[in-house]
């Protein structure tokens, strides 16, 4: 029995989807190249099945689900305070930022508002998570293009931020620090000065990277004009964060739809880039790290005094209702749609994670590009596997 080409490709894709095979198969009019789930250039276990004609991609299919943990189902059997432990692990590089929108949604349903000091410290940790997350992206970006050194610089300087997060929350990666109505603890003594010193180092890191990576001729040749996403396409795929702003769409939830955080009391700006190519996305991220260090400085200077916890019952029962809160996380817009039936735990939680939307454009974007550009395009879209699969 002879299979048609389309049938054969369909069969391979079905097999590949289940992770049963790992093939490079030649067909009459093209070759199927499988990348992943384990590949040096993937962050975790993303798998890409690309069909090639010579060096050019005819079609690319993204396979995910190797890290699906079923958080939406698990949330239904957890109580509200327990959920933050779970959702911490969605975007593991900026984990405090995962807790915030869920807590804000629960607070909205309970009609509780955190005191000003708690809001400011939340915003502080939120921005520190962004710096820790995105500074590693910058190092990793260079690594994927074959430059080893920036990755070490990134790991070195990120440590200063992680130390600050750890000294407040006790956890380097999974703080579980946000509470309904406020925060678990106040800041330790001497923390403000240490943080401001760390921000100086991070700004130096940004300047260094701007010259070392972004100013590099090879980097520019490999990213400029490659992987262009027009603004309308970006919006119809629901791209968010730097991927959207790199396409020239001026939208930042911190500025435009701020709920429960201190951004409207600070002086900062939203960075956009009109080009929409790989370079634009990476460039916007670098500017955002630098902007975040300035936000952190302002937060440290203007930190209000007072309580860090509003009055909430000891056993938290959330009144019946529905709430949707999205915040501008390091990877893009992250939202939680929380349905409560008046119980101690949520009835249904829909987790809108940034990377799921951001990577869903890959099939569209990779069509027609050359094989080496797959790496730069995927790197510039910047995804965390846990944030795709949840």
């Amino acid at each position: 029995m002879t299979l048609t080409d389309a049938q054969q490709l369909g069969y391979i894709n079905a097999q590949a989807a289940d992770g049963r095979i790992n093939v490079e198969l030649e067909t009459d009019d093209g070759m199927v190249l499988n990348m992943g789930p384990q590949h040096p250039a993937t962050h975790g276990t993303l798998r890409l099945v690309a069909r090639l004609d010579g060096e050019q991609v005819i079609s690319a299919d993204v396979m995910c689900g190797y890290m699906h943990r079923g958080y939406e189902k698990l949330c239904e059997v957890r109580s509200y305070p327990q959920v933050t432990t779970l959702v911490n692990r969605i975007d593991w590089l900026g984990s405090f930022a995962n807790e915030v929108p869920f807590i804000l949604a629960a607070e909205q349903l309970m009609e509780v508002e955190a005191p000003p000091r708690a809001k400011w410290i939340r915003t502080l940790l939120f921005e520190l998570s962004r710096i820790a997350n995105v500074s590693l992206f910058i190092g990793d970006l260079a690594l994927q293009l074959g430059a080893q050194t920036p990755a070490f610089y990134a790991f070195r300087d990120r440590e200063f931020v992680l130390n600050q997060i750890e000294s407040v929350t006790g956890g380097r990666f999974h703080p579980n620090f946000d509470r309904i109505g406020g925060l678990k603890d106040d800041l330790p003594k001497g923390w403000i000065a240490e943080t401001k010193a760390a921000m100086v180092r991070l700004r130096a890191f940004c300047d260094e990277m701007e010259g070392l990576v972004y100013g590099n001729e090879i980097f520019q040749t490999r990213t400029r004009g490659i992987g262009i996403i027009p603004p309308q396409i970006a919006q119809s795929y629901g791209l968010s964060g730097a991927n959207l702003r790199g396409s020239g769409v001026d939208w930042d939830l911190r500025r435009d739809a701020n709920v429960g955080l201190a951004y409207d009391e600070l002086d900062w700006q939203v960075w956009t880039h009109p080009d929409g190519d790989s370079f634009a996305r990476c460039w916007v991220r670098l500017q955002e790290v630098r902007e975040a260090t300035k936000i952190v400085d302002q937060l440290c200077d203007g930190l209000p005094s007072g309580s860090i916890m509003a009055k909430v019952p000891r056993i938290i029962k959330v009144p019946e209702g529905e709430a949707y809160i999205a915040t501008e996380n390091p990877l893009g817009a992250m939202g939680y749609y929380v349905v409560s039936k008046g119980d101690t735990g949520p009835f249904r939680v829909k987790i809108r994670s940034a990377s799921f939307n951001n990577i869903s454009i890959a099939s569209w974007l990779l069509r027609g590009v050359y094989v080496p550009d797959i790496i730069t395009i995927l790197a510039s879209l910047y995804f965390i596997l846990g944030d795709i699969d949840r």
Binding site: E111, Y237, G335, D343
Partner: protein, 230 residues
């Protein structure tokens, strides 16, 4: 910013935000007519609209072209049936397996109402603003089926695949409804309430009855507080 103040104060900002949401609702009402079944505005917080199942693709077109909501946020579904397993942590005894299914009438829909057990839910927004609409539509219990959005919002393709595998909803017109997370031969729809969370069925969750006292804490004091709260 405006939202934040609107939730806490009853003054002018809340009214202003309401007007904006009411204006957005009016756009949908004008173009959808009778297909707009019910709506709900929470001042300063959100706008929910329930449309007829048959008008689901049309609602997307109206949202994009008339209301200017070009940003596709997410598409998912909600199963309104109470879980037959209860909230495992609340029960001190093992739940019988399989448990009796709750009565269909126990499925009470949320904002903007509904007639069916499972509803499709989607969120659309306008870039550069805080304008957002949450759209809902009923899908029938026996044959959950609804039109696709991929012709209006390309990003809906993956979300519909996810809703298809998690809730068993078919999207007419979406040719690619392969599983996205689970193996292709996986049976069942995990986010439906009757689907058991096996880890919890095998071993009951210890929950609140087993909480150990904090080291150094006063267990009697904790118990007294809990009693007072209950």
């Amino acid at each position: 910013m405006a939202d934040d103040t609107a939730t806490t104060t009853e003054g002018a900002p809340a009214a202003a935000t309401d007007e904006r949401r009411a204006a957005l609702l009016a756009v949908f009402a004008e173009h959808l007519g009778n297909a707009l079944l019910q709506s709900h505005i929470k001042p300063g917080q959100g706008l929910w609209i329930r449309v007829a199942t048959t008008a689901w693709p049309e609602a997307a077109a109206v949202a994009r072209d008339k209301a200017g909501l070009r940003f596709f946020d997410f598409l998912s579904a909600i199963d309104w049936l109470p879980s037959p397993y209860g909230r495992c942590e609340d029960s001190s005894v093992d739940v019988p397996f399989p448990p009796p299914m709750p009565d269909r009438s126990a499925a009470v829909p949320g904002y903007a109402g509904g007639d069916t057990r499972i509803q499709v839910l989607a969120s659309l927004a306008k870039a550069g603003t805080d304008q957002r609409v949450l759209l809902k539509a009923d899908v029938s219990d026996d044959d959950p089926r609804i039109g696709t959005w991929v012709n209006t919002y390309a990003g809906a393709a993956w979300h519909e695949r996810e809703a298809h595998e998690m809730f068993g909803i078919s999207f007419d017109g979406n040719a690619d409804l392969r599983h996205i997370y689970l193996p292709s031969e996986f049976e069942g729809h995990p986010l439906r309430k009757e689907f058991p969370l096996l880890a919890r069925v095998v071993k009951p969750w210890p929950g609140i009855v087993d909480v150990e006292p904090m080291p150094g804490g006063d267990p009697e004091d904790d118990a007294a507080e809990e009693g007072a709260e209950a």
